[in-house]
Subunit: 345 residues, 2 copies
């Protein structure tokens, strides 16, 4: 039996996760869930973000389903670093996965693209680079202040995520783009390029390409259909995935997985959107991204059939929508769950 | 008399700079120019990119007009670091300026935008951050390899570029957006935020906003009209300016200045596009970006009237184009120069 830890979190996180669980109930019948009350409420009550005891408990699960964290009452960065990044580092979630598709019914800000035109995956490194926290300040607040940030990169860390990306490319259209900034960041860029070229030699069936991050950012806007799989470092991935979300119709529909492909610790799956305190509690949040994150979870658990069923149901849900009609959170979950049930019965 | 150093460079650099000089001849009558043969040819002949003697000579000029550098025969990064970045650092060009406008006649990949809707400026820091080259590799090429890149930031360096951005915002629509990643890059982000808030107190007439770089990248795609001036660090600026170029119809039209606002050394002005060896020598390269870079040069030299005339002529040139017609490089320069001459006579 799969054991899923559920961190609904703040704001609309609560509402959308309830719908994701409706879908999971039919896609992964009998799964056991444990709810963890983390986020702004816990922090404001106790000053804690992710107590060690909770971290150990989470580690007993097969996967983590997360809604959204963040509230204006909490200083920016505290929950992000203390919860999201902490999970990535503690649970060695080195593959940060972001599928980007333009769904039927979704509205891209781009002209001349239609559903199906955009379909790529970003594989972002999740445990190295500029995200380690290395660096410091001197003479803080004075005119003499200096600040450093250090990007730390290992062959071990780059090779494993590159290998994962090649595997994904092989299961897709067989094209992998490495994105870095080798012409300026020569040290880290050199390491990434060497690791990439070495692994590429083992995947002769996958065609490869290199792009500087600035060019890739531009191409995501003016020719997104040319991408299949992108592999890149932690910070570049952070930026590129948000551009990807934008061109596929907004962050409201995107889901992401922070994945430990070796299953030595649980992986986290979540919608990309935030807690949206402005619309929380009204039952109008769109749970589609949260539901899509269950598809990524199912895939990771080896339930490819169920994952495909959820994705297909999400696609039908989006295609069936009238642009004028107000979303009712609960109805979306009911519809998608019924669709999935029909497919799997 | 203004003394302009001209580095036409490689590929179409030669062709587009010839047109820019036609325009400059009428916009800045009697200017003296010195041509410097730098780029792939010099490198392939001598192994040198920017000899010290040339650097000293360049330093005697009031401005540098650059076409494009780069050729497949030169290893990637060599000319970029040895010429472009060297000029930025040696000449303390701390303001990297990139105006982004959607011109009439230009085609944005975005739906639902029309000329005039997009009009903002990115002020990118040019002498600090991850561009200093600090960092290194250990056990290179082995499974034990590690690589670091260090972002170096000073209060001195951030404050001066932030101040420049506030000045520009004051001369425009009075809104300035700071872009960084303070929730993850806490050290550099903290420094940038402190410097920004301190300078903001002196510019009560400018409204301010902060965005994380990932959010800003997305907003540049799905609501670019909300930006007026953006100030950001060197690497974020590199990425955001290319997104800006994409949404305003491609890098082919964008111009940039690497500016030393204190005039202690010359500033460099150039089109954003590369040397495009594939179309070089055919007389079909669009010189509009190179011509626009003369407008930035004129502005920097205090010739605001001439700068406005060049921009207006470029705008008319783009508006008058038939999308089907092949550009003839030389004709574009003639038309724009004649237009500028008419305005200034
Ligand atoms: C919240 C933040 C720390 C996080 C990141 O920068 O990785 C987010 O932007 C993301 O992409 O998951
Ligand atoms: C060529 C390269 C070194 C340069 C940079 O990264 O700054 C370019 O992309 C730019 O934006 O001027």
């Amino acid at each position: 039996m799969s054991r899923i830890a559920v961190i609904a979190g703040d704001g609309i996180g609560q509402e959308v996760i309830a719908e994701a669980q409706k879908v999971l109930a039919v896609a992964l019948p009998g799964y056991e869930s444990t709810e963890y009350d983390l986020g702004a409420r816990l922090y404001n009550r106790t000053g804690e973000v992710l107590p060690d005891s909770v971290l150990s408990e989470l580690d007993e699960h097969d996967g983590i389903l997360l809604g959204a964290i963040g509230d204006p009452s909490v200083p920016p960065g505290v929950l992000e670093r203390g919860l999201l990044l902490k999970l990535r580092f503690e649970f060695d979630q080195y593959v940060n996965l972001r599928p980007s598709r333009l769904y039927p019914g979704a509205t891209s800000p781009l002209a001349d693209v239609k559903p199906g035109d955009i379909d790529f995956v970003v594989v972002r490194e999740g445990t190295e680079g500029l995200y380690t926290g290395a660096g410091g300040n001197l003479h803080t607040g004075s005119p003499a202040e200096i600040a450093t940030e250090e990007s730390l990169n290992t062959r071990y860390g780059t090779e494993r995520v590159i290998r994962d990306a090649f595997e994904r490319a092989r299961r897709r259209r067989g094209h992998l783009t490495l994105v870095h900034k080798t012409n300026v960041l020569v040290h880290a860029g050199g390491l990434w390029k060497r690791a990439f070229d070495d692994v590429a030699a083992e995947y002769q069936d996958v065609t490869t390409e290199y792009q500087h991050v600035d060019a890739a950012a531009m191409f995501l806007v003016n020719r997104p259909h040319t991408f299949d799989v992108i592999v890149t470092d932690n910070l570049f991935g952070d930026i590129l995935t948000d551009i990807a979300a934008a061109v596929t119709g907004g962050i409201g529909l995107a889901a992401t997985g922070s994945i430990n492909p070796d299953h030595t610790h649980p992986s986290t799956f979540e919608p990309v959107h935030g807690s949206a305190p402005d619309i929380a509690g009204q039952g109008i949040a769109d749970p589609v991204a949260a539901i899509s994150s269950t598809a990524l979870l199912l895939e990771h658990l080896g339930r490819a059939d169920a994952a495909v069923a959820v994705s297909a149901a999400v696609e039908r849900e989006l295609a069936s929508r009238d642009s004028g009609t107000q979303i009712r959170t609960g109805e979306v979950g009911d519809r998608v769950a019924a669709d999935v049930a029909g497919q799997l019965s």
